[in-house]
Symmetry: C5
Subunit: 354 residues, 5 copies
Amino acid sequence: MAKFMKKRSVKAGLPPGSLVFIGDKMAGDAKITIIDYDENGVEGKKASSIDECFPYKNKPSTTWINVDLVHQVEIIEKLGECFHLHPLVLEDILNTDQRPKMEDFSEYLYVVVRMLSCNGGNAKIESEQVSLILGANYLISFQEKEGDVFGPVRERIRGGKGHIRKAGPDYLAYALLDAIVDNYFVVLEKNGERIETLEDQLLTNPNPATLQEIHLLKRDMIFLRKSVWPLREVIAGLAREGSSLISDSTRLYLRDVYDHTIQVIDALETFRDILTGMLEIYLSSINHRLNEIMKLLTIIATIFIPLTFIVGLYGMNFSYMPELKWHWGYPAVLLLMLSISIFMLCFFRKKKWL
Amino acid sequence: MAKFMKKRSVKAGLPPGSLVFIGDKMAGDAKITIIDYDENGVEGKKASSIDECFPYKNKPSTTWINVDLVHQVEIIEKLGECFHLHPLVLEDILNTDQRPKMEDFSEYLYVVVRMLSCNGGNAKIESEQVSLILGANYLISFQEKEGDVFGPVRERIRGGKGHIRKAGPDYLAYALLDAIVDNYFVVLEKNGERIETLEDQLLTNPNPATLQEIHLLKRDMIFLRKSVWPLREVIAGLAREGSSLISDSTRLYLRDVYDHTIQVIDALETFRDILTGMLEIYLSSINHRLNEIMKLLTIIATIFIPLTFIVGLYGMNFSYMPELKWHWGYPAVLLLMLSISIFMLCFFRKKKWL
Amino acid sequence: MAKFMKKRSVKAGLPPGSLVFIGDKMAGDAKITIIDYDENGVEGKKASSIDECFPYKNKPSTTWINVDLVHQVEIIEKLGECFHLHPLVLEDILNTDQRPKMEDFSEYLYVVVRMLSCNGGNAKIESEQVSLILGANYLISFQEKEGDVFGPVRERIRGGKGHIRKAGPDYLAYALLDAIVDNYFVVLEKNGERIETLEDQLLTNPNPATLQEIHLLKRDMIFLRKSVWPLREVIAGLAREGSSLISDSTRLYLRDVYDHTIQVIDALETFRDILTGMLEIYLSSINHRLNEIMKLLTIIATIFIPLTFIVGLYGMNFSYMPELKWHWGYPAVLLLMLSISIFMLCFFRKKKWL
Amino acid sequence: MAKFMKKRSVKAGLPPGSLVFIGDKMAGDAKITIIDYDENGVEGKKASSIDECFPYKNKPSTTWINVDLVHQVEIIEKLGECFHLHPLVLEDILNTDQRPKMEDFSEYLYVVVRMLSCNGGNAKIESEQVSLILGANYLISFQEKEGDVFGPVRERIRGGKGHIRKAGPDYLAYALLDAIVDNYFVVLEKNGERIETLEDQLLTNPNPATLQEIHLLKRDMIFLRKSVWPLREVIAGLAREGSSLISDSTRLYLRDVYDHTIQVIDALETFRDILTGMLEIYLSSINHRLNEIMKLLTIIATIFIPLTFIVGLYGMNFSYMPELKWHWGYPAVLLLMLSISIFMLCFFRKKKWL
Amino acid sequence: MAKFMKKRSVKAGLPPGSLVFIGDKMAGDAKITIIDYDENGVEGKKASSIDECFPYKNKPSTTWINVDLVHQVEIIEKLGECFHLHPLVLEDILNTDQRPKMEDFSEYLYVVVRMLSCNGGNAKIESEQVSLILGANYLISFQEKEGDVFGPVRERIRGGKGHIRKAGPDYLAYALLDAIVDNYFVVLEKNGERIETLEDQLLTNPNPATLQEIHLLKRDMIFLRKSVWPLREVIAGLAREGSSLISDSTRLYLRDVYDHTIQVIDALETFRDILTGMLEIYLSSINHRLNEIMKLLTIIATIFIPLTFIVGLYGMNFSYMPELKWHWGYPAVLLLMLSISIFMLCFFRKKKWL
C-alpha cells in the first residue's frame, strides 16, 4: 500500500496473453513444491525444475503443486502449456493486482484471491495474490512471496487428520480458501486492537498523530474492503455454480467459508463506523479544547481590562484631580477594583463559563 | 461490546468442524433442561447428564431441550452424535459471534439469532447467541449464559394456555423467536428513554460527556442493527421457505414476527436519524456558545481599548501639555470617555450584538 | 411524537393474538357508526352496542362500520368473532404503532395506514392509526380517536354524488384512502409554509431557535417519511394484487392514489433537501457573523495597541528623556499616532477587511 | 419555484375526477390551435371554439390539437367527452403539479412531462406542465401558458421537411418530446455558465452572496432532477412498451431521446458534485480568511503586549528605581524593546506564520 | 473540461438525424486511413478521398477504416450512405459529448467510448470520443483528433504478431477497446502520482493551493467515473449479447477487458476515498494550526495582562501610596510579577497547553 497502484502501464499496447510480471519483484527463483496424496499415502517433494510436475497431471491421486515467487515468466509458461491453461489465465497469474475473481473454463476453475498477513508488532497489513487452478485431480497454487498461511493444511495432509486425505482437490481448494479467510480474522483482530488503543488515546490525549492514525486505519479498511467484497462473490460462485469439479459435500463447506466472509465484511463495516465516530469525537474534542482556551482568555481579559483602565485613569497627570489628594483615595480605588473583580467572577459563574 | 471482536483467531488453521468454544467462558457447568409435552400433558426436568436427552429423540410428543452455558464442548459433541447434526453446525453453536442465519439441512433447520437484554438501571445492552435446532418432533436451544427471556413461554407450556400445547416444535420455535423479538422492543424503549434524557441535557447543559453519550448510543444502534438486519432475513426465510418442518399456520405467525422485526428496524433507523440530528445540535450549540463568549470579549475590549488609550495619553510626561493645566481638563476627559462608551454601546445594540 | 416509541414492552411474553391496547388511551367509550347503502338508498345510525353490527354481515348492500376510540378490547374481540377475523389482525388493530401494511386473508383484506392531521395554528402534526377490514360486502374501519378526514366521503354517500353509491366496499376503501392521502397534502402545505417562514427568518435574523425549528421540521419529515413510504407499497399492492375483492375499475382509481403518494414522497424529499440546505446556510451565516465580529476586534485592537504603547512610552519616568522637554514633543506624538492610525486603516481597506 | 408546493389542498375531499384547476391562473382564455396534415398537405387554424376540434377525431390524416392556457375547466371537459378520455386523465391535465408519467389506456396514451425554459438574462428556470394525449390519428397537447419550444416542429410540419409529414401522431409525439428534452440542454448550458461565473467569484471574492447563489443553484438542480428522473422512465416506457399506438421505427427515435435524458441526468449529477465541491471550497476559503486575520492579531498583540508591559514598568512611581536615574536608561530600554520585537518577528517567520 | 458542457443547444429544434458537429472543431481536414488484412497479407494506405473506402465494403478480408478529425459532416454522410448507417448513428458520431453506449443494429454494432490521454508533465487528462462501427467484415473507427493509443494494434497487424491477423473485425474491435482501457491505467497511474505528491505536501505545508488541487483531482475523478461506468456496461453488453457479429472466442477476450474496467473503477473509488480523507486531513490540520496560534496568544496575553495591571497600579499618582516610598518596593514588585509568571507557566504546563 506504499503506492496506490501497481505499474500496469508497462503492458499498455501488448497483445492479450502477453506474459509480463506486474508487481514487486522478489529476489530469488521460483520455489515449486509438490504434494501428492490419496487415502493411502502422501508424497511431498521440492521440485528443482518445473518438468517434475508434468507426470502428476494424469495420476489419479490428488496433486497439489505450489509455486512461490511467481515472477519467473518461463515457469508459468511451461506449466500453462502442460496443463492447457488459457493465455489470459497465465497473464492474470502474473498480474499481481488482480481483483479476486473466479472463472470457469470447464476443464479447470481459475480462482484469484488475496492472502493477507500482519507482520510483527505494528499490525502493518501485507497483501499477496494467490491464484488457484483447480482441475479434476490436481490443484495448482501460485503465490507472490514465500511464506503463507497454508502450514496447518500441509500438516493435516501429512498427518492424515480430518477429512482432507479422503477428499479430492476441490476439498483442498476449500481448505486453502478457509485458511486464507481464517487469517482475515487474525488481521481484523490486530486492527481491532489498534482501534482500541487509539480510542484510549483519543480520550486521554488527542493530537494530530491520532488523527493521522485514524486516517491510516480507515485507509486500511478501504483496502481490506476491496479484497473481501469480491472474495464474497467468488466463494458464493464456487458454492453455487454448476461446475462438476466441485462435489456437493464440498459446497456445504464452502457455504461455511461464505458465512465467514460475511462476518469479515460485517466486522469491517463496524470498524468503519467506529472509525467515523472516532473522527467526529476527535474533531469535537479538539474544538472543545479551543473553547476552553478561549473561555480562559475571555475571563482573564474581561477582568483585567477594566482594572487596567482604572489604574491608567489615576496615572493621568492632570493638575486638578481631587481624588489624588484624598488620604483614602488609594485604598478606595483598590477596594473598587476588588469589588469589580468579584462581581465579574460571579457573573461568569452564573453564566456557567467557570 | 467491551471488545470489538471475539477471539476467532485461535481457530485459524484448524480443520473444519473442529469444536472449539469461542466467546466469554462463563463459570460453571452446562445446565440442561428438558420439557416434553403434548396436548394431554407436560413433563419437565433438569437433566444431570446429557444422556437423559437421548430417549426423547423418537418420542412422538414435542420435546424442548435447552442447554445453558454452551461452552462445554463434549456435551455439544454428544448431542450432535445423537441427533445426527452436521459438524459445521456444532462448530457454529460453539462460535458465539455468529451472524444470525438459517440453514436448512432437510432433517432439521438450524437457526442462530441474538438474544438481547438490558440489565439494571444503566440500559447497558447485553447480547447472547441463541442457536435453535428444529427437528420433526424436537427443538434444541443453546444459550451462552443462564437467564433468558423464555420464562413466559415455559409458563404457557406448563399452564396449557394458548395454542402452544396443541402445536408442534415449529410453533415452539416461533414462540421463542417471538419472545426474543419482543425483548428487542424492551431494549429499544430503554434506549428511547436514554435518548430523551440526553435530549433534555442537550438543551440545558451540553458538555463533552453528552457528546460521548451520543456516540455510545450511536454505537449501540450500529450493534443492534447488525443483529436485527440479518434476523429479518432469517425470519423471512422461515416464513417463506418450503421446508416441511414448518406448518402453514405457523408461517402466518412467523409473518407477524417478521412485521415486528421491520418495526424494530424502523425504530432503529429513526433513533439513528435522531442521534445524528442531536450531534448536529450539539456541535452548533457548542459553536453558539463560543460565539457568545467571543461577542462579550469583543464588546468589553472594544469599549475599553480606546479609553485605556486616552488615560495613557494624559499619563505622558511631556513638559508642555496644555490640557493638563486646565482646571476642567480632568472632568472633560471623563465626559469624553463616557460619551465614547455610550456611542459604542449604541453601535453594538444597532448591530444586534448585544 | 412526544415520545419516540409507544410502550410495546407491556406485551413481551404474552402469547400471540393477546388483545392488549397499545397507545395513548383516550377518554370515553368506543363510538360505532353504521352506514349501509346501495344504489337505491342509504341508512345511517349510531350503534349503542356492537351487536347491532352483526345483521349487516350478510346483507347484500354495502355496509361501512366505523369504530372510533379503538381501545375497548371487548368490542374488537366481539367484532372479530362475528366477522371471523384472525387473532393476529385483532392484535394489530389494537397496537396503534403499526407500520402501514396490507395483508390478504382471501376472505378479507386487512389494511393499516396512518391518518395525519394538522391542528390549529402551529402546524403540529397529529398521527392516528386507521385499520380497514375490506370484505365482500362490508368495510370496517377502526380509528384511535374521534374526528377524521372522512367527512366528505360520508357526504358523498348520503348525497349520492359521484360514483360511490353504485360501487362496492372496494371503492369505499379507495375513497377513504384517497381522503387520507389528500390530507397528507394539507399537512405538507402547512409544513411548506413553516419552511418558508423559517427561510425568511434565516435571512433576516438567524438564531439558535431557528436551528431548533429546522431540526424539529427535519424530524417531522423523518416521521412523515416513515408513514408514507410503506403506504406507497400498500397502495401499490392493492392496485396490483390479484385479490378478487377489488374490482378492475377500482384498481384504476387506486393507481391514481398511488401517483399521489409518489407526489407526497417527492415533496418530502424536496423538503428534506431544502432543510439540509437551510442548515448549511444557518451554520455558515453564524460563522460569517463570528468572522465579522472577529474582524472588528482585530481592527480596533490592531489600531490601538501600538498607540497605547506609544503613550505608555512617554509615560515612563526616566530622568533623561530629551523628547519630553521638547516644546513640540506632544503635538509631534499626536501627529505620529494619527498617521499610524491612517496607515492602518488604509492597509485594512486594501486587504478588503473593512 | 417561488412557493414550494402548489395549493393541492383545495381538492381534499372532492370525489375523484373532479375537474378543478390547480396552479397559477394565467390571464386570458384558452387558445386552441389545430394542425391537420398528411403526406400531401397541411392545414392549420386557430379554433375560436372547442367544437371545431370534433370533426378531426375520425379524419384519417394526423391532427395535432394544441390547447394553451389549460385553466378553463369547461374546455377540458368537452374535449374529454368528445375523445372519451377518462375523468382521472382530465383531472391530471388540470393539476399542473403532476410528476412526469405515462399511462396506457389502450385507446390512447396519456403522457405528462415538464417543459423548461430560461427567460432573459438571469437564467431563472420556468417550468410548465405539458400533457399529451396520443390517439391512433390525433395528438392533443395541453400547456399551462402561451409560448413553447415547439416552433421548429411546427416549421417542419409546414415546410414538409424531414420525416414528420410521412409519419403518424406517434412520431409527432416523439418530435415534441425531443424538442422539450433538447430545451433541457439549453437550460443546463445557462446553468453551466452561472456555475462558471460563480466559480470565478469564488476564487476572487467569496462572500455570503456567493453562498446564497450556490444554494439557489443547488435547489434548481434538485428541482430539475425531480423533472428529469421520472421523464427518463416515461420515455423508456414509451420506447419499450407494447402499445400498438407507437410504431417500431418511432421507438428507435425514442431510444435516442432516452439517451439524451440520460445525458441530462449525467450533467445534472456532475453539476451537483461541482456545486458540493464549491460549497466546500467556499467554507474553507472563509475559514482561511479568518485564520489570516487571527494570525495578524496574534502577531501584533504578541509583539506589543510585552513592550507595553515594559513601558508601564518604567512608568511606576517608586521612589527608589535606580534605572530611572541612569543616563543611558531610556536608550537602553528602547534597545531592549527593539530586540524583543526582532526576536519575535524571527520566531514567527520560523513558524511560517508570517 | 475547461467548460462543463459542450454546446448542444445549437441543435435544439433540428429534426432528428440532422448532421451537425458538436464539439471543439480542430484545424485541418479529416484524415482517412484504410488497413485491409487477412491471414496472408496486409495492405495499408491513406485515402485522399472518402470514395476509396467503398470498394472494401464487400471484400472478404478484414478492413479497418479509421477517420481522424470527425468534424467534416459530408464525409460522415457519404460513409453513412455507403455502409447503410442509420441517420441517428451518424448524428451520434458527430455529437462528441456522447455517453459511452452500445447499440445493436443487427447488420452492424455501434459502440461509443471515450479515449483518455495524459499529455506532457502536468497530468492534465484529455478526453476524446471514439465511435466504432463493427460490421461483418469491416470496422470503422471515428476519432475527434489526430493521435491515438492504437499504435501498438497497428504494429501487431503489420507485423502479423499475435492472434490478430487470423481473427476478424470483432477481434480488432476488442483490440482497440483493450488499448483504450489499458490507457486508462496510464492515466490512473499519473493521477496516483499526483495524489502521492499532494499527500506529501499535505503533511509538510498544507495551504489553500493544496485544497484547490485536491478539488481539481476530485473533479477529475468525477469526470473519469462518468466515462468508465457506462464503458463497463458497454463491454459487459458486448461480452454477453447474442449478436452474431462477435465470435465466442472474442467474447472470452472481452471478459478480460471487462475485468480491467472493473479494476479501473475500483482504483477510481479508492482514489476518491483517499481524496475525501485528504480533504478531512487538510481541514483539520488547518484547524490545528489555528488552535496553536490561539494557544500562543492566550498564553502570552494571560501572562502579561496581570503584570501590566500591576505596573499600571504603581503608576498611579495618589499622594498617599505608602508602597511607593518603601526602599524595597520596586524589587518586591518585580519579584511578585516574576512569581505570577512562573505560576502561570506551571498552570499552563499542567493543562498540557504548553
